[in-house]
Amino acid sequence: MTRQPVRFYQVGSFAVGNRLLNDEDRTVQSSPNRTNSIDSGHRACQGCGEVLGARYALDAAMRATNGQLVAVNATGCLEVFSTPYPETSWRIAWLHSLFGNAPAVATGVAAAMRVKGKSEVRVVAQAGDGGTVDIGFGCLSGMFERNDDVLFICYDNEGYMNTGVQRSGATPPAARTATTVAAGPEPGNVFGQGKDLPRIAMAHDIPYVATATVADLHDLEQKVERAMEIHGARYLHVLVPCPLGWGSASDETIHIARLAKETGLFPVFAAEHGRVTSVSPIRHRTPVEEYLKLQRRYAHLFGSSPRPDIVARLQEIADENIARYGLVTEEAGESVASEVRT
């Protein structure tokens, strides 16, 4: 299923809302009646991408389920900043158990709802990348393999931010973390490691796998909506920049997420039953430097002793993604291909 962009309106296809659009063509986020699944007063850092991603996704899921939603949360930033006693920011039914078990807990909730005859209640499990690709991976793979009726959402900020920015299996090559410092001949995280969880999820042949970023709300909401139309195991991987861990300005969160997609470093696509069904094409192809330079975790690649060789390797990764998913349509890409090469 591909999304039909809203055309002929100044910002109909990309901005949150538009006064000229019918309500049904606007995003959930444009509505003053949105759930605000995670409400004000949470303790997320300024410009946190994860809290934004969570509200986007869960509000969309709430609309798709008419409010019949339960969320299971893994340990991590999202859990810690939302529910420190005596206050919670959640406006939805929410359960936190452990770091590594959110998929299984969600399976249990879904099973309970079935036996209780409340099959209209749908279940979302959510975790950061550590809780997804590392410590929660066993439970996640099991949930996938059993095709349990759970939408699992990974808010990927590419590291263990809650514990102070350590490397995870989703940390990209060359990125500096507290456990992959910018020292030695190969500074930052090493090349050739890490898990591509969306593809691993696809290999489970589950009915729906998609990636998204906080930079394209329409796409993200549409994917949640699609996911909620399907029963069985579904996986949504949302890139959520972390100003603290990435060393970026708090106002750059959405911009950086957009660049991650526009460079090709983070491919945005959807797949059903293991096959890619749609990709979000790159609109303005951008060299990876523009993405990297906004983040201090890559500062060692620039400055007084720059590492163009490493930047080139990152560009190769972007180019491979572009080729693999066909992210560049003719009109968007080719005119700037030369720019990318510089």
Partner: protein, 420 residues
């Protein structure tokens, strides 16, 4: 109805009578027969509505149970040994969240060395998790305790672990008086959760609690277990009135009226001890037995009372805290302090080693003679231990002790064979 039935099967069928709504487990010996049987009943539609979920690990099994219980479903699982340890983070979590999950622990030793046979190391490893731990002496009691466990768990919002000795009970076929569905239904009302995940009344379950309230949360959990000390005997009594089965309760005494030596133990070994006591009684020794059914909460007052006439207390247990001694013995010693009784810790039956009536008789005799050491390892092959100690002293790279001992005992065995 009295049936000759395997312990696992008796437990499975009784669990089914409790109408669990979600059952989730991962196979591990010796728990397998229980979950196979429950799974078969669900699959055949004999237990409905119920979801039986095969998961990829014990960690997932307990996690699924957390989810289903928090969503208001009566939830059951079972495990053993390594499995319990693999789920231990979730075990603590279930208790912390106050979820009334019932779990059968088919007690088994913990490796390394890997060992599938019975002892109580696994149960002791989660002693402090906040679960209620009930130990069954017989298969009848094992079956009956599950019915009482659901009632207790759901009344108090505390998870309950029913411990039954692996193989010794789980795989033993003996007579069990199986309950009727109507009896169980009359005893166990439908689950009414104290809190539940409900989209129409949303709450956040599992908040982060800091120093300002954590101690109170823990103390409240302790108070719920103290409440259980009231409820466990009351429930057992009600159960007995309904079924005629004297199962459960806090402690049970056998021939202790005039006893100056009392053996304290958990689980199925109580039967063998009772036989040994009977023998020693015939010899005129004033010996008795106290079986503890509720290990957590620990019924300190009941234990003290049961042991009040004894001057020698032998705590025989299938587990110990390496580097110190008996676990149960420590608890018993604490509650009888101030009396004149002397507490002896006896570690026995580790990794499935048979605890024979003969050995127990000898132990009692030794005790009466005043020859019992404060800490005794029953039927320990001291010679094998000494040889390994010598090897270790002489060779830096002496290799793993377990394998050395096996080799050592194997050559012994071969030599003895050759001699006959």
């Amino acid at each position: 109805m009295l049936r000759q039935i395997e312990g696992s099967r008796a437990v499975a069928e009784t669990v089914a009578l409790c109408r669990p709504e979600v059952v989730c487990a991962y196979p591990i010996s010796p728990q397998t027969h229980i979950i196979e049987a429950v799974g078969a009943m669900v699959k055949a539609g004999l237990l409905s509505p119920c979801e039986f979920i095969n998961v990829e690990s014990e960690f997932a099994a307990m996690s699924v149970s957390i989810g289903s219980s928090a969503a208001g479903a009566r939830t059951y699982t079972a495990t053993s040994s390594q499995g319990l340890l693999f789920m231990i983070e979730a075990v603590y979590n279930a208790a912390g969240l106050g979820l009334p999950i019932v779990m059968t622990l088919a007690n088994r030793a913990i490796g390394a060395p890997i060992n599938i046979w019975n002892d109580h190391s696994d149960a002791m490893a989660v002693r402090d998790s906040g679960w209620i731990q009930l130990f069954a002496e017989t298969n009848q009691e094992a079956a009956d305790l599950h019915v009482q466990a659901f009632r207790l768990a759901e009344e108090l919002s505390v998870p309950v672990m029913v411990c039954m000795d692996g193989f010794i009970l789980t795989h033993a076929v003996e007579g069990v008086d199986m309950l009727d569905q109507s009896v169980v239904d009359g005893f166990l009302p439908p689950y009414e959760p104290r809190q539940v995940l409900d989209p129409n009344d949303p709450v956040s379950i599992g908040a982060m609690v800091g120093p300002e309230a954590f101690e109170e949360v823990r103390y409240l959990a302790h108070l719920r277990q103290m409440d259980a000390l009231e409820r466990i005997p009351a429930i057992a009594q009600e159960f007995e009135e309904l079924t005629g089965h004297a199962s459960g309760g806090l402690v049970r005494s056998y021939r202790t009226e005039d006893a100056d030596t009392i053996v304290v133990a958990l689980g199925s070994v109580l039967g063998t001890i009772k036989d040994a006591v009977d023998v020693r009684r015939q010899a005129g020794e004033r010996v008795g037995v106290v079986g503890i059914t509720s290990f957590r909460p620990f019924p300190g007052e009941a234990v003290r009372e049961a042991l009040s006439g004894a001057s020698r207390i032998i705590v025989l247990e299938k587990a110990f805290s390496i580097g110190f001694g008996g676990v149960l013995a420590t608890d018993v010693a604490l509650v009888v302090q101030g009396s004149n009784a002397k507490v002896f810790s006896v570690v026995a039956g580790l990794g499935g080693r048979a605890i024979t009536r003969r050995s127990l008789e000898d132990l009692l005799a030794q005790s009466v003679r005043g020859e019992l050491n404060p800490l005794t390892f029953l039927d320990l092959d001291q010679a094998a231990v000494d040889r390994e100690r010598a090897r270790m002293a002489s060779t830096r790279r002496s290799g793993p002790s377990a394998e050395n001992l096996l080799r050592d005992l194997g050559s012994d065995y071969a030599a003895s064979k050759a001699q006959t």
